[in-house]
Amino acid sequence: MTRGSYRRRLLVERLMFGATIVAAAGTLSVLFFLLGYIAYQGGSSLSLSFFTHLPTPVGEAGGGMANAIVGSAKLLVAAALVGTPIGFLGGVYLAEYGRGPVTSSVRFAADVLNGVPSIVLGVTVYGLIVLPAGHFSTLAGGVALGLIMIPVTLRATEEFLRLVPDSLREASLALGAPQWVTIVRVVIPAGLRGIVAGILLSLARVAGETAPLLFTAFSNRYWSEGWLQPTASLPVMIFTYAIAPYDDWHRQAWAAALTLLALVLGANVLARLVLRRGIALGRAS
């Protein structure tokens, strides 16, 4: 144990707690610096044409990232269509029927999938979809993002369904409802708030993913029609514009970063509000 006079021990206490305050303040100040700096740089570069125009060639002023914004939205829709059903129903299975050897291997697989670096998923989807199809596409990008959504959605669904008290299930079963009706009409609605928040959070996470899109959705200077053409997306545009040597492009990158950050953080705050305060709920909280 620590030796020394009481006064000395109090001094140590004050010093060490002071250090922890410095650490916490430092971490928080990074956040405020990030937000402030991006708001400053992005705000001064943001204009209406950023949302409505296509990118212009180097050296030409103006232009925007309308195609990248739409591209990101389409990628998110595709990702949700791939990731949500698998993650959600998989989570329902783990929570409601989950016993036996299959469950533990599924859970382990979800953990592994959650830990796989997103660039590795990009490489895999390239081999499975882009290579056989012969071209980059929105669809391939959506699948890559969807793979990232699966474990997050699965975990959220499982956890929030487990929070639903068993007495609700028993009441429903005692009334004669079959198990699937119990799950669909009693258990899932009771846990829905958390599940919706989880899906929102996983969408926010994949909205900012860049690495898996590099060789799946690729990029596009023009509008991408349908689902089978390469498409621009906000994160990939930020990447290409940031490492290019043109000042115009750097300003566009900041504007795109501000837009992306606003979307992602907005979704996060919304998800937490849904979870904690209970948006659209009368008496639950």
């Binding site: 928080l28 783990l94 999938l113 670096p117 009706v181 849904v274």
Partner: protein, 337 residues
């Protein structure tokens, strides 16, 4: 929009369940004898989707394994400790990338661990919840910031700072191999610092949860024995939470190892192994991001996929380790309780 009515439905249902029970005696809309068929179908569907998670993960491993067959046949295990990366002569070794990934991650941990645990202690032990909760909320928002945005800030803020401050440091202390010049601004140190900023929120968020889970009685006992609050934290609370905190560090490490965009943008992208932390280097994820789309020959692509396979293997091991740590803590605690 679509979710709204459902959410409201959920609320009334979960809170007013006793009243729901009174409504029950009316005739069941599901027929007099609920058929087993619907039950079996639903269970089967859920099972199929759950199983597909397993199948997908296995497919990723198999795909990486088969696609890298050519490179594995050509270079064997020496792929892991050869440092030549020559797309022209078609000779590939992954050592510079493994080195870059490990060194940047270690730098990141060296900075992030003291900061993260310090901040977690402050938020869990020192500050009242009315301040600590919103602060934690803000720090958790940092986890959500996309890595390409960190990369952007890294390129335009961190790189100039390292260039300006690193120059004089290297001039004076350049005789130490670790700090030898020239200082470009991009390089191992910059990537490590940027990674540390990205993983601190992870460590703070998880460690704080773990610290809050330490029973109050432990603290009370220590304080009652005359320990100061800091001594209580240092000798009682932190040791109690040790395996959970270590788990959070390993999870953060896993994220640092696989991080792609931010590192790619500031590490300098040069496949070399140099002692100096100011020197440009390369990481596994970065080389895939930069060269995969441009790889021309089959062997080149195959070598890059083998890099992905190695990265896949490392992250699986690290993640499994973290889960074991956290699980170990859980069983440990329930045994104590």
């Amino acid at each position: 929009m679509l979710q709204r009515p459902a959410v409201r439905d959920a609320g009334t249902r979960s809170t007013v369940s006793p009243r729901g029970a009174q409504r029950a005696p009316r005739p069941s809309p599901y027929g007099r004898r609920p058929s087993r068929f619907a039950d079996v179908t639903f269970r089967g569907a859920a099972f199929t989707f759950a199983l597909s998670v397993f199948v997908i993960t296995a497919t990723i491993g198999v795909e990486l394994w088969t696609q890298s067959a050519q490179a594995r046949a050509a270079f064997g295990w020496s792929f892991l400790w050869t440092s030549v990366w020559d797309p022209v002569e078609l000779h590939f070794g992954a050592l510079p990338f493994i080195y870059g990934t490990l060194v940047t991650s270690l730098i990141a941990l060296a900075i992030a661990v003291p900061f993260g645990i310090g901040a977690a202690v402050c938020l869990a032990e020192l500050l009242p919840p009315s301040i600590a909760d919103p602060a934690t909320f803000l720090i958790e928002l940092l986890v959500a910031v996309p890595s390409v945005v960190y990369g952007l800030v890294g390129v335009f803020v961190l790189v100039p700072i390292v260039r300006t401050l690193g120059g004089p440091v290297s001039d004076v202390l350049g005789w130490i191999p670790l700090l030898a010049g020239p200082v470009y601004g991009i390089g191992l140190l910059t990537a490590g610092i940027l990674l540390s900023v990205m993983i601190v929120p992870f460590i703070v968020a998880i460690s704080r949860e773990v610290l809050l889970a330490v029973p109050q009685s432990q603290r009370d006992a220590s304080l009652a024995l005359g320990a100061t609050r800091w001594e209580t934290v240092w000798h009682v609370v932190l040791p109690y939470a040790r395996s959970g905190i270590v788990g959070s560090i390993i999870l953060a490490l896993a994220r640092a190892l696989g991080e792609t965009m931010a590192v790619t943008m500031v590490i300098g992208n040069r496949p070399q192994i140099v002692a100096s932390l100011f020197a440009p280097a390369y990481s596994m994820a970065a080389v895939i991001a930069n060269e995969f789309a441009e790889a021309t020959s089959k062997l080149y692509v195959s070598a890059l996929i083998e890099v992905a396979l190695v990265l896949f293997g490392i992250t699986i091991v690290v993640n499994a380790l973290a889960r074991l740590m956290i699980a170990g803590m859980r069983t440990g605690r329930s045994a104590m309780a």
